[in-house]
Every structure is written in C-alpha cells, then in structure tokens.
Symmetry: C3
Subunit: 350 residues, 3 copies
C-alpha cells in the first residue's frame, strides 16, 4: 500500500513531535489502535483508549504530550489526531497517475491542457477549456466548454462540469459530482411555468472537496461560490447563487436553497435544510436534520431543530415535551382539587 517508508524520527520531525523510544524504527503505514501491526503508526487522544494503546501492536503510537501510555515507541505531540493525519499524507500520498492523455479522450482542439496531466478514458474536455498542471481527470468525467480547472485537482469518474464553470487548485471532486447544472427557478405563467434565466456560473475555490453525487447549481444571474478549503460530503445540494465561505464543513444530504450565504468557518450536520436567502454568520454550527427558515439570519452558536433554535433552548423544550403526560396528569388532578374547594366554598356559603 505505502510506497514511502519513514523512520519514527523523520515522522516526529515532520509533525514537530518528541520521540520517546527508538527513533530508528521503520514505519510503513497508518492504522487504527486495534488493527495495527508491525510497521504501523497509530494514535491515541482520549484517556479512555490509553489502555488499548498499551496493548496495540503498532510500531509507534502518537500520544498527547505527557500521556500515561506505556507503548515502547511513542511520539508526543499537542494534537495527536492532526499529527496522525499529517503523517498519513506522507505515508499514503494521493495516488499518482502517470502523465497521460488516454487515446479515447475527446479534447477540443483549443483546450489548454497543462503538463503532467492525467486524462483518463472516455473523458471529454470542451472548447476553450483549461486544465492545470498535474490535475487528474479520471475515466468518464465530462468537462464542458469554457471551463477552468486549476492545478493538482482530482476529478473522479463520471463527474460533470458544465460550461463556464471555474474550479480552483487542489480541488477534489468525487464521482458523480455535477457542477453548473441549471438552478431551480421558474415563473408561473397562465398555464405553465417559464424558466427563470439560469445563465450565471459557479466558482469552486482552492482546496475544496465535494463528496460523491453532490450537485452545485449555477447561478441564475451572477455566480454560485464554494469558498477556499470548504469540505462538502456526499449528495449535498447547493442551490443557485449560494455563497459558501471558506473552511465551511457540510455533512451528507444537506440541502441549501437559492441565495443562501454561509460565512467562513461554519459547520452543518447532515440532512440539514436551508430555505432561501438565509445568512449563516461565521462560526455558527447547525445540528443534523435541522431546518432553517427562509430569510433567517443565523448568529454564531450551536443551533438545532425544525425550525432551528439555540441548542440549549431546543433541548429544554424537548424536555418539556417529554414531561407533557406528567403536566396533563397534574392539571387533571388540580382541576379535581379546585372543584372540591369550590364545592366546599359553595356548601360553606349555604
């Protein structure tokens, strides 16, 4: 699996960690605590797994500085999980594909294809489109006309980039992604719907990753944007004219209606629904399956529910709802007691 073997010392240097044990041990792969074996490096973060870390067969364990873990070879760091991810980048680099333009690919005569590009079988690249250096466009992906794809991207099989779309550098688009299909906008005429113009575009900035079968619609007018470093899971719908900021994280199957703004560093759970013209302010976190009403401004903080409420409030209301049978009983009982008091009062008047 891993073409790159490193010593523990080399890896420790890469992540700025401190070696405890034999820095000369060879590491070939990353692995989980339980399944690790010789040649693997693993990590532990949470105290409740320290026991398991003592028993791992990994050749090295990345540990939080000062952790009471007895593995013979450790690297102490501040953030073991991050260190593990950074080491994985070294030991398991993205699959390299030898520079090639497959003989079956159909590339427009005026397309600009940079050096060291991989273009797989049955790929199309349309007129006047640009593909940057070292970018991989895998089998069956279709790139329309006037599309710009930056350098070091991976466009997985069967992705479709519609005419005029722009994709930055170091972007990963998983299989089945569709970018730049028409947004969903119609105007009702007397007896039918007319398409509202969907003639804008889409801009995907650097370092974005989009999950399999995710769809980002083109703007009606103007542009739909996915900001730098944003990560989006499978089957997410991003409607026309959305402006998704930088370092936003959106889990699977979330749906974002038209003209929604999600500012930098927000997080959305899976299956969340955003009505149109919402603004989610930087730093807001929205729980899975939540629903945000059209036009809403979502302030920083943690939100949940349909429609969304601050998480604490939502939990409190849920607790109140759970107590409803009890409330009902109390109320009934109280009604009886009041009735009795009224009867006494009446009889004492007589």
């Amino acid at each position: 699996m891993s073409p790159n073997t490193k010593t523990v010392s080399e890896l420790a240097a890469h992540i700025g960690g401190r070696v405890l044990g034999d820095g000369g041990v060879s590491i070939l792969r990353v692995a989980g605590l339980d399944s690790a074996s010789e040649g693997d490096i693993t990590y532990v973060e949470d105290e409740k797994f320290f026991e398991a870390a003592n028993e791992t067969k990994a050749s090295c364990v990345i540990t939080p500085a000062g952790a009471d873990v007895k593995a013979p070879c450790r690297i102490d760091v501040k953030n073991p999980k991050l260190a593990f991810a950074l080491i994985a980048e070294v030991l398991h680099p993205r699959k390299q594909r030898a520079s090639e333009i497959h003989h079956t690919a159909i590339i427009a005569g005026d397309a600009q294809i940079a050096a060291d590009v991989f273009i797989g079988a049955f790929v199309c690249v349309g007129e006047n489109s640009v593909v940057g250096e070292r970018t991989q466009i895998r089998a069956g992906a279709k790139i329309g006309d006037h599309v710009k794809v930056g350098h070091d991207c991976v466009i997985h099989p069967n992705v479709f980039l519609e005419d005029g779309v722009t994709v930055g550098n170091n972007v990963i688009l998983h299989a089945g992604v569709v970018i730049g299909a028409d947004g969903f906008g119609y105007v009702r005429g007397e007896m039918s719907y007319h398409k509202f113009p969907q003639i804008g575009t889409v801009i995907i900035e650097d370092d974005v990753e989009l999950g399999a079968n995710t769809c980002v619609d083109r703007a009606a007018l103007g542009r739909t944007r996915i900001g730098r470093g944003t990560k989006i899971d499978n089957m997410v719908h991003v409607g026309h004219n959305c402006d998704i900021g930088e370092r936003v994280v959106i889990a699977a199957q979330t749906g974002i209606s038209g003209s929604v703004v999600i500012e930098d560093d927000c997080v959305s759970g899976g299956q969340v629904g955003f009505g149109d013209h919402i603004r989610v302010q930087s730093g807001a976190v929205i729980g899975s399956k939540a629903g945000v009403l059209p036009g809403k401004i979502v302030r920083p903080g943690v939100w949940w529910g349909i429609p969304i409420q601050p998480l604490d409030e939502y939990k409190r209301l849920n607790a109140h709802i759970s107590r409803l049978p009890h409330v009902r009983r109390e109320l009934k009982e109280l009604i009886e007691r009041v009735k009795m008091l009224e009867n006494e009062s009446r009889s004492s008047e007589e």
Copy 2:
C-alpha cells in the same frame, strides 16, 4: 454571451408591455438589478427595490405598471418577473449544438434517429429506441433499448434511461438523472428477500425538467408517470408507480414513496418525505422538510410539519410548544396556590 440583440421596443412587443423612454435602445443580456450594466435589461417587482431600480446601470428596467421608478428607460407590464423570464428566453436561447452524431457514439442499427439531432461522445442508444428531432443527447448519456425520446429534448451528460422508458417532447434531464431503475420492493421469504417484480415502465410527459441526479423508478407493474410541465429539482426520488400530475413543482431532495399520486398544480418544498399510497389533491402546497404519512389524502391548502398539519395549526402548535416553560411555571404556581387554599379550608374547618 447573447447572440441576439434586440431593441427595447421589440422586447416590449414580445411581452405585451408599454415602453417608457427610448424604444430604440439595444439590449444584449438580462441581468440582476445590482450587477446590470449597459446593454442589460433588468426587472423590479417589489416596492422595496424601487430605490435600487433608480440606481441600476441597466439600459432598461421592466417595472410593474405605474410603478414609481425613475429609470430613463422602462417597460411597464403586469408581471415583470414573468416578462423578464420571457425576454431571457429570447436573449439567451438554449445552447444550440450543430447537428452531429459523434463518431464515438454507439447507436443500435435499428434505432430511429430523427433529423437535426445532436448525439455527443460516448453516448449509447439501444435497440429499437427512438430519438426525436432536434433533441440533444450529450456526452456519456446512456439510452437503453426500446426507449422513446421526443423532439427538442436536452439529455445532459451521464443521464441513464433504462429499457422501455418514454420521454416526451421538450424535456430537460440534467446530468446524472436515472430513469427506470428498478423500484424498491421485496417480499420476505423464510431466510431472504425476494424481489417483487419491477417490470413496469416510466412515462415522462412533455415540458418536464428533472434536476441533476434525480431518480425516477420504473413501476412494479404498470407505469410511473411525471405529468406535462412538471418541474423537479436535484436529487429527488420518485418511487415506483407514482403518478405525478401536470405543472407540479418539487424542490430538491424530496422523496416520494411508491404509488403516490400528486395531482396537477401541487407544490412541494425540499426534503419532503411522502409515504406510500398518498394522494395529494390538486392545489396542495407542502412546506419543506414536511413528512406525509402513508395512505394520507392531502387536501388543497398549505401544509407543514411531521406529520403534516394545516400550516396555521402547525404554527399555532409550535407557538404552544414555545410557551411550554411558561405553562409549566404557571401550573407549578397554581399548585402552590391551591395547596394554600386547601390548607386554609382545612384550618377553617378545624
């Protein structure tokens, strides 16, 4: 962008509007109020944007008749947004692709391909299938056997039409659409599930548009139907044997279980879930994220919630839920007061 330049007078005539200003001004493009520049036509509907309309750089503004907008060149109409859509159809007609059958396409010998068709690279058209005049079948789309596609359709890249499916005229199927995959039906045997037969078909009528990665399953027995003029957004699931009427609008990620009937002119928000064997009566509107129980008959009106309720009722219940902490406090206080009254009553008896 726009190959067609028109004068303001020509456009006004097309939409039956009244020119205020110089009808000879040339218009090249439609644009939004804010981003418009010379050569653009824009529109305003809502009074709160009249101020912005006064400051737009568009060469012409479509306005509601009699609106207090000071733009030097206007077209007054009853429905500016509809007029804008109709003008966009003129200025930005659907991309024309020169008639071509790409040399890589695999077309069955007995398929009937009409005149002026565009068939892109790596397309398959199966045995005995029919493609109507001027229809575009873009790169990578796969058409099975015995499929009928009408005239003036656009079948976008990587769409799949399974055997026996029928698609009407002027239909748009966005990238990744799957029509005619097996419906989801099984019968539990002793130790495994057996497929309930999924041998029906799908009929997509004229003027339908289906969003990217939307799936319409074939009927178990009989047919699944999407009625004329219906518009469906991205990643919608239409189960086997559904009968969706005419001019229905369904937003993204909605899921429709088997044998659901949605009558003409209904509207569904996004992420709605329909249980099986529901009938939605003509004119019903169902809010986003709602859930409709199996077998339910949904009458005309506006519905929301899980399970759905009339919108007003749903809102009222939501308000009641928000007041629950208050109710709880009132009840507790009342219990104390009743206790006090009981004590008084008891002590007065003594």
Copy 3:
C-alpha cells in the same frame, strides 16, 4: 415481454401451491389485479380486494388458502405475494445479455475476466481487477484497480467502483452507484482542514442490491461492509466504517454517518438520519424521517421521531402536543377559578 410460458400446474408446483381449476392454462406474464388480461397471473392477499379478484381478467389468481375468491382458475398458497414474486422470477427472468466484451471497453491487461461475462460500451476495468462469471457490467460503468466483482452481478450504467473494493456474488448495483469514494473525515489544523486518512476499503456481500445514485464510502482505516442479502434504495448515503448486517432493508435517501453498526434484519424507512457510532440491534425498525443521535444503542422494537423514541411513546407525545391548545385553555380557566376562590377566601377572612 416474457420468453417463458408456463402452465398453471407448473407454476403451482414451483411455489408449492394447490391448483383450483384448469392446471393446463398457459401463463405468460405477471400483472396487477386491475390491469391483468388473458395469459396473466395475478395475486390477492387482502380480503378487501377479493371482490376485485372476482372480476380480474387474469387467467389465474394466486390466493390465500381457503379464500372466498371465485376466479375460475386459482392457485392456493400460504403467502400469495411471495408466490407471485417467485413466479415473476420464472416468467420475467433478469435480462440476459449475450456474452460480449464491447470493443470500446478498456480492460487492463492483467484484469481477470471470467467466462460468459457481458461488458458494455465505454466500460473501464482497472489493473488486477477480477470480474466473475456471467456478471454484466453495463455501458459507462468504471471499475478501478484491484477490484473484485463476483459472479452473476449486474453493474448498471455509470456505476463507479473505486480501487480495492470487493463486491460479492449476485449483487445488483443500479445506475450511478458510487462505492469506495473517500469517507468524510477531516482534522482541523490552525488555518485549514487536513484529510483524515481514508485508506480503508468496502465489502459488499452476496445478494445485495443498491439503488440508483447510492453512495457507500470507503473506510478511513479498516472496511465499510454491506452484509449479505441487504437491500438499499436510491440515494442512500453509507458513511465510512459502517457495518450493515444481513437482510437489512433501508429506504431511499437515508443517511448513515460514520462507524454505524446496523445488525441483521433491521429495517429503516426513508430519509432517516443516523449519527455516528450508533448500534442498531437486530430486529429494530426505524420509521421514515427519524433521527438517531450519535452513539445511541437502538434496541429491537419500532422507533420513530427526532430524536427517536419507541413508536407508542412518540405517538402519545404527539397526541399530547395536539392537545396543547386545550391544556392552555383549561389552565387559564383554572387560574380564574383559583383567583375567585382566593378572593372568596380573602373576603371571608375579612
């Protein structure tokens, strides 16, 4: 449609049923009660359709043993729907495609392709991959490197199987399915997200069926598994490291976060959301649109709601919520009555 004509007696023998009427009648097709005509076999289960069964034009009706149905030719069995499904398998066997490797397919030199395989146009099979006997890989499907596909599978158009994935025997993958794309896992660094390694794999066991555009992500480390005989509908998301057991049924658009375990014989409705690290115990049934909180253990039984509750409890709470306006009125009235009692009490003290 059906290449196989059988007599009623032959079909009855196949399903272990008893013929009432002429066993020599020829049957060509299965059909629904209402639409059936001569040569069709249909079934009835529920007493409320017995009337319709008396009027069907089908040549034979499968009926529950002893049912009061007057059709001239019947087969009595214990489970008519199952019998109908088994008969459909005989009359409408899966479409056979003559063994062929299409001349446009790109098959790696060291791929092992078994006998009697169908490989359609524009298919890719990568290095060192294996395709079992009689498996059909339809047009446009892409199989990566080191992939194993068993025998008698149908891989529908535009499916993508990423490197290293394993698919068992008799598996059906509908169009647009993506197996083995990276899971969704990142570690936040100072100013950006780093990909948590997604270097595990996916195992799809025998007799699994996955609906159109469904995505099953590869494990971060280890494997994601779909157990034998499990049936999954369209556009379902299965996150990294999930372990879905045998004979599990999951309806459309359900989303399953990372590391969820769903044990054998569970059922999930559509649009359900599972947070990460959930364990659903064997036999649990979860209603459509439900939401299960991360880390939850779901015991056998029927569950519904967000977050899930036992179905009865959920229904009871919903009833309580509906009564809230009434509770509010009762409480207000009671407050008035207590006030009156307090006034009386005060005045009697004076």
